[in-house]
């Protein structure tokens, strides 16, 4: 089946946060209701990171240069890896991969173990505290299924995001990088073409990966070994949750994963 992808072009993004807010609007995610509960962030980036109620944030990194300022905008959310570490460690078979490459997180199957949060080399899955489950971008698979673009893509007023067949997005991304280099942005590069087996959210990084806060050479193996260290610790807290949701595991369908162990820890496939 055709693989799909979002191409995010940081050189066109004006960081208006339309995507950040429309993501919450479509996905019905709340924001705090207290008075003046948010801290001043010293930036237009309002939240330091994603949280359980926020699947996408616009990031701002600025650096003074001799000629002025490099103001690097970014779109921080799930990358939808071809080899998703989160899925590899998911204890509740809540994370699965659609044939088009979307990495789905099904909150109804999540046991709240937080392994995915630890395993992801980008730290994108977050715990939605009010529900005790993990939460992350599902690439608006419901919208895509109905022939619509993901909410973030459709809402972008700067034309900084496009959505379509992944090979086309990769080609368009490479072309943009070339064009930017020709304009004098020598550090421009495309992110996501090969990382993590190839990601389904690609970034055109105008000022180079580091300037936009993108992790160079992320790897699943690192992530999974991190998971190995955390496993015994996390397993304890998971056990209690699992008891209450035992029924869910009987019907839960794992994805490339062994059956669930009684103590609530997934046994990884041995290869």
């Amino acid at each position: 089946m055709t693989q799909i992808a979002i191409l995010y072009d940081s050189s066109k993004c004006v960081a208006c946060k339309g995507c950040q807010v429309q993501c919450k609007q479509w996905n019905m995610l709340p924001s705090p209701l207290g008075k003046n509960v948010e801290e001043f962030s010293s930036s237009y980036q309002s939240m330091p990171d994603l949280n359980g109620d926020t699947r996408l944030i616009v990031t701002y990194d600025e650096a003074g240069t001799a000629g002025g300022v490099e103001w690097a905008f970014g779109r921080r959310s799930c990358f939808h890896c071809s080899e998703p570490a989160c899925m590899a460690v998911c204890t509740g078979s809540a994370i699965s991969q659609l044939p088009d490459g979307t990495v789905m997180q099904d909150k109804t199957k999540c046991v709240g173990c937080k392994y995915c949060m630890a395993a992801c080399p980008f730290g994108t899955p977050q715990c939605r505290d009010s529900l005790g489950v993990a939460d992350k971008c599902n690439l608006c698979s419901d919208r895509v299924a109905m022939g619509r673009e993901p909410a973030c893509v459709q809402t972008c007023p700067a034309g900084a995001m496009t959505f379509g067949p992944r090979d086309e997005m990769v080609a368009a991304g490479k072309k943009r990088v070339q064009a930017l280099k020709a304009e004098g942005f020598g550090k421009a590069e495309l992110y996501g073409e090969t990382e993590m087996g190839g990601m389904h959210v690609l970034h055109v990084a105008k000022f180079g990966l580091e300037a936009h806060g993108l992790v160079r050479n992320p790897s699943q193996s690192d992530a999974v070994s991190l998971f190995d260290i955390l496993k015994p610790l996390a397993g304890l807290s998971v056990a209690a949750v699992v008891g209450g949701l035992a029924v869910s595991f009987v019907t839960g369908i794992g994805y490339e994963k062994d059956e669930l162990h009684a103590e609530g820890v997934t046994k990884e496939e041995e290869e």
Binding site: G18, K35, D106, D142
Partner: protein, 1043 residues
């Protein structure tokens, strides 16, 4: 088969439907509503709306199921935004509903007002009251205040005015609501009638109108894609009008250049091809330098300038400019004003109007037309060689010779090489086939010489041949969804609907005096008597007859006081204004010198605040440091409806009048502003009929056929605004059908045609304003003539005659708007010139090309030199009212004709104490005074706290660290907030001296349940521009220290 993107989505959608079918047996209630649980939009009713925030006019789709709001996202069919919405637009849902962070459940936004409330004098709290009681009590107070303070005659002139009541607000209202509101207010004799347009783009109207004849954005949003160069100056368009970037990027993709000139390195600057810094308040120096650069380097569009501008016109030899004093000829020290007598043209001939039965002015002699002296057209002398020393071209050259690159760099603080880079890039659009457009907003308008800033852009664009062409123009980016419309309907003290002068007692004591002084002898405005008489027929119906001068006497006549927003608060402070109504406006935060505005409000007897929220203005008696018990003002707070909870039309910045349908009922007892105004009218009319009162006919005789089934009917208002023939009530198709003999009624002549379908007067969807057909796009220029309707006459790019040469050949055939094909005009846009005439036998005859490209000026040309301005025919640089440096370009420090400079409330500061330039700005995430965004959790989270932006250098000098709590202060006040220290702001080198500039957003105040913070406008000066008294929010002096 090659698939389009949309088809691809459709196909993959069909496939993915199967793979993403979910089985949910165990979902928690909180998850049941999650989109993944099933298609979120199942069984919803979808209603198109127009975004309620800025003036772009983006479309959105509102989805409602069982009376519950489910979703609001961009309308993919809408040509302007094609499905996109910025942070604010994406949060429109939050105006009504939010999600509870604990349960995840959807609930009504708890900050919405749902019941009328009153705060009794001296009380510390609100109490509820019924609508009946609220309307009755408010009407009672209006009547008492009006009756005790009404003037029928002053100095022998019938004035019929009430200076004691003020009405402020309306830019967030629909056109029909705004029209009815100004009609009601003028029907009470109200003269202090103002709204946000005064403080955002009033200088645009004066500057553009004084140059081209109309005061509106010349082009429109989709047209930005046609530009070869886009220059944003005084506009952070990526931040405040984000959808413009979609179109700017289209232009860039075709090789276009995007230039940003701004004191701060903004989000716009971040994506610009060229960024140039400019000290706040030095735009005319920048544009004057550009004019000089264009002339010195021969970059003007020669034929365009010769044919379509006043370059060849000869000016009186007595005209002069004195560099030493910085004054033009005609200055009167005593009146502190110019007598423009020496600014006139040399006259070649005088041509009286031909009023013979077959002449063009035969209409003036028809029965029913009020008596006035026919015009005499004074034709100016011209010198086609443009060598006469008195011709405009030579005067222009001489005037701007002083604006050398070195001088401009010293004044503006912009490095000379940057200036040259920007000027070269922009002046490249002077080639006849090229187009360059200017995007601007408050950075140009909110200065004491704001109107001249706008005119300066007009001069540049006329020289480069960029007016009237696709991809060109001067694009005033309007900041509220209907601030264009609220200006059109004239919720302003100085005009009546359709940009005609509001009567001034001394100048317009009678209808005849008005007609004679306001009707120019040439140009399309010569038809003005038709528009005014038709307006009066709409306002007073059968009561308006030729015998009573069409009830002209009922219009309140202004005295010599300045009735603009600044003047309104001065009058309130002096006790002249005793009662005020606010319609979605929040002056406690948005007025200049806001602390003074709040103190003036405390002197009111009563205040009515109609809004969605409890604003700082409604709760001004709760402001920090105010003792509620000491405030005797009675305050009524009325709950209004959100844009998608009512229906009506809104005019975007590009003059598109789009219909906004109702998607859902307002919550609780909230009501549309139209209904509130209607009920107030009915109550007042009843009181005046029963009890009488001074000149009661002013209100009781108002023609008010706007009701259906006991409620206001917006479609009936639309019919009155569009206009109709009096005898049969048939809607008129356009304004050329209007007459001055009382046979037509029309509330807003420039809108004639927007609601003209007699087949379906009740159905906006079948009216021009409601059309939604994007498939028609002649010339592939993004004109979309079948998507809604644009004033005037559905012209999408005004002055489009100038897109073709003197022989009617388009300068750029790929951007054809109009073209003469030997015997006929072939047009992609509706022609904005006299292109055909109707012969007496009814047949039409094409008019071959001529040079009359600007039909709204009496010269029929674009004015490089303008006599309509109060501070000079050429824009001249003056420093802001408060400036840290001396004016290097002439001997006059600040604009000589600026207003309110000597008011005691202003408390000016000098540079010794306050050496730092401060400007204010807006953020994408918030809007205006913040009441519409600080009450929405998604947006509060997106930028939660008030801050001041400081350069690294100034922070080091003041020992301020990023994130410190700091105090910004001047003689008007002191406010505290966080410091945002950033390299995106750099000190300026001005004439060898370092000048620091800081910036504050003005979205915070004390009245929100979610986010509160300092009011930036406590520091801005309440001084006004010379022409329109727009306040100088964008450059004033402060100091800053660690708190």
């Amino acid at each position: 088969m090659e698939l389009t993107r949309r088809e691809f989505f459709k196909m993959t959608g069909a496939v993915l439907m199967v793979t993403t079918t979910y089985e949910f047996a165990r979902q928690s209630p909180a998850l049941a509503g999650e989109p993944e649980a099933g298609w979120k939009l199942v069984d919803v009713r979808e209603t198109p709306t127009i975004c309620c925030y800025c003036g772009c006019g983006c479309g959105a789709i509102v989805s409602v199921r069982d009376g519950e709001l489910i979703n609001i996202e961009g309308d993919p069919d809408h040509p302007i935004n094609r499905g996109s919405l910025c942070a604010k637009g994406s949060a429109q849902f939050g105006l009504r509903s939010i999600y509870d962070p604990e349960s995840g459940e959807r609930m009504l936004n708890p900050n919405r007002l749902t019941k009328p409330m009153v705060r009794r004098p001296g009380s510390g709290s609100w109490e509820e009251l019924s609508w009946e009681q609220a309307i009755d009590e408010i009407s009672r107070r209006i009547k008492a205040t009006r009756d005790a303070n009404y003037e029928e005659v002053a100095d022998g002139v019938t004035v019929n005015r009430c200076e004691a009541i003020a009405s402020l607000g309306g830019a967030a209202l629909d056109n029909e609501e705004g029209y009815v509101l100004q009609k009601l207010m003028r029907g009470l004799g109200v003269t202090f009638l103002e709204h946000q347009a005064r403080v955002c783009h009033s200088s645009t109207v004066a500057g553009l109108g004084g140059t081209f004849g109309r005061g509106a954005m010349t082009n429109h949003f989709c047209d930005l894609k046609n530009a070869d160069v886009v220059m944003a100056i005084g506009s952070n368009n990526a931040m405040n009008h984000p959808v413009t970037m979609e179109w700017v990027q289209e232009a860039r993709a075709k090789g276009g250049k995007y230039i940003v000139v701004d004191p701060r390195f903004t989000r716009s600057a971040a994506v610009a091809d060229i960024y140039a810094p400019l000290r706040s308040g030095t735009d005319i120096a920048f544009f004057g330098g550009l004019v000089n650069h264009i002339i010195e380097n021969g970059l003007w569009q020669k034929e365009y300038v010769a044919q379509y501008t006043t370059a060849s016109f000869l000016v009186s030899p007595d005209f002069a400019f004195d560099e030493a004093t910085g004054l033009f000829s005609g200055w009167d020290d005593e009146t502190q004003a110019y007598d423009p007598a020496t600014w006139g043209y040399q006259i070649a001939s005088e041509e009286p109007w031909d009023t013979s039965p077959t002449g063009p002015y035969a209409w003036t002699t028809k029965p029913g037309v009020p008596k006035f002296a026919p015009g005499v057209n004074k034709v100016a002398k011209t010198d086609p060689t443009m060598r006469d020393p008195d011709c405009v071209w030579q005067l222009l050259k001489r005037h701007y010779a002083r604006y050398t690159p070195d001088m401009v760099s010293r004044v503006t603080g912009c490095p000379a090489d940057k200036l040259a880079e920007v000027w070269d890039a922009f002046a490249s659009s002077g080639k006849s086939e090229k187009s360059g457009t200017i995007l601007y907003a408050m950075g140009q308008t909110q200065h004491t010489n704001g109107s001249e800033n706008v005119r300066a852009m007009g001069v540049v664009q006329a020289l480069l041949g960029n007016i009237g062409v696709a991809g060109g123009g001067i694009n005033a980016l309007r900041g509220e969804s209907n601030v264009q419309g609220s200006t059109d309907v004239a919720l302003l003290c100085h005009i009546v609907p359709g940009y005609m002068a509001a009567p001034v007692a001394a100048k317009h004591p009678t209808l005849q005096a008005w007609l004679e002084s306001e009707t120019p002898a040439s140009g399309y405005w010569a038809n003005k008597p038709k528009f005014l008489v038709s307006l009066l027929k709409e306002v007073y119906g059968d009561y308006a007859t030729v015998k009573n001068d069409y009830a002209y006497g009922m219009l309140p006549k202004l005295n010599a006081e300045n009735h603009t927003l600044i003047g309104m608060f001065e009058a309130m402070d002096k006790g002249v204004v005793k009662g005020m109504m606010l319609w979605g406006q929040n002056p406690a935060v948005s007025a200049p010198n806001a602390d003074f505005a709040r103190s003036a409000m405390s002197k009111l007897d009563w205040l009515v605040a109609v809004d969605l929220w409890e604003t700082e203005s409604a709760g001004f008696w709760k402001a920090p440091g105010v003792a509620a018990a000491a405030v005797q003002t009675e305050v009524f707070m009325l709950p209004a409806a959100v844009s998608y909870e009512k229906q009506g039309s809104v005019s975007n910045s590009g003059r598109w009048i789009q219909w906004r349908w109702k998607a859902i009922d307002p919550p609780g007892e909230a009501r549309a502003d139209l209904e509130i105004a209607h009920q107030l009218f009915k109550s007042l009319k009843e009181m005046y009929e029963a009890e009488g009162g001074p000149n009661r006919e002013q209100i009781t005789e108002l023609h008010w056929p706007y009701e259906s089934e006991g409620h206001a009917d917006v479609t009936k208002v639309a019919r009155g605004m569009n206009g109709y023939t009096v005898v049969d009530g048939k809607l008129i198709p356009n304004f050329p059908t209007l007459a001055a003999d009382g046979s037509t009624a029309c509330g807003l002549w420039i809108y004639a045609g927007y609601y003209a379908n007699n087949e379906a007067p009740d159905d906006p969807a079948k009216q021009a304003t409601g059309t939604r057909d994007r498939s028609v796009d002649p010339g592939d220029l993004g004109l979309y003539p079948m998507w809604t309707w644009a004033w005037p006459l559905n012209r999408r790019i005004i002055y489009n005659r100038a897109s073709a040469d003197i022989n009617g050949r388009p300068w750029n055939p790929a951007r054809t708007l109009v073209a003469w094909k030997g015997s006929a005009w072939k047009n992609n846009d509706v022609p904005d010139f006299v292109w055909k005439t109707v012969l007496p036998d009814g047949t039409e005859e094409m008019v071959p090309p001529n040079n009359k490209a600007f039909i709204m000026t009496s010269e029929l040309s674009a004015r490089l030199f303008s006599t309509s301005m109060k501070d000079g025919p050429f824009p001249e640089h003056y420093e802001p009212f408060e400036s840290p440096v001396a004016n290097l370009l002439n001997g006059c420090q600040a604009d000589p004709a600026l207003t309110f400079g000597s008011a005691a409330s202003v408390k000016p500061g000098d540079a010794a104490q306050y050496p730092i330039v401060c400007t204010s700005f807006r953020l994408t995430e918030h809007w205006q005074s913040g009441s519409m965004t600080r009450n929405i959790p998604w947006l509060v989270e997106a930028i939660p706290r008030m801050f001041v932006m400081l350069s690294v250098e100034l922070a080091a000098e003041k020992r301020i660290a990023d994130g410190d709590w700091v105090k910004v202060f001047n003689n008007r006040g002191a406010v505290e907030m966080y410091a945002l220290v950033t390299p995106r702001l750099k000190p300026f080198r001005v004439d060898g001296k370092t000048i620091h500039e800081i910036g504050m957003p003005w979205h915070w105040g004390y009245a929100s349940g979610l986010a509160t913070g300092a009011i930036a406008n406590d520091l801005s000066p309440n001084v006004g521009d010379a022409n329109t008294s727009i306040p100088e929010y964008k450059a004033f002096l402060v100091n800053v220290e660690k708190a």
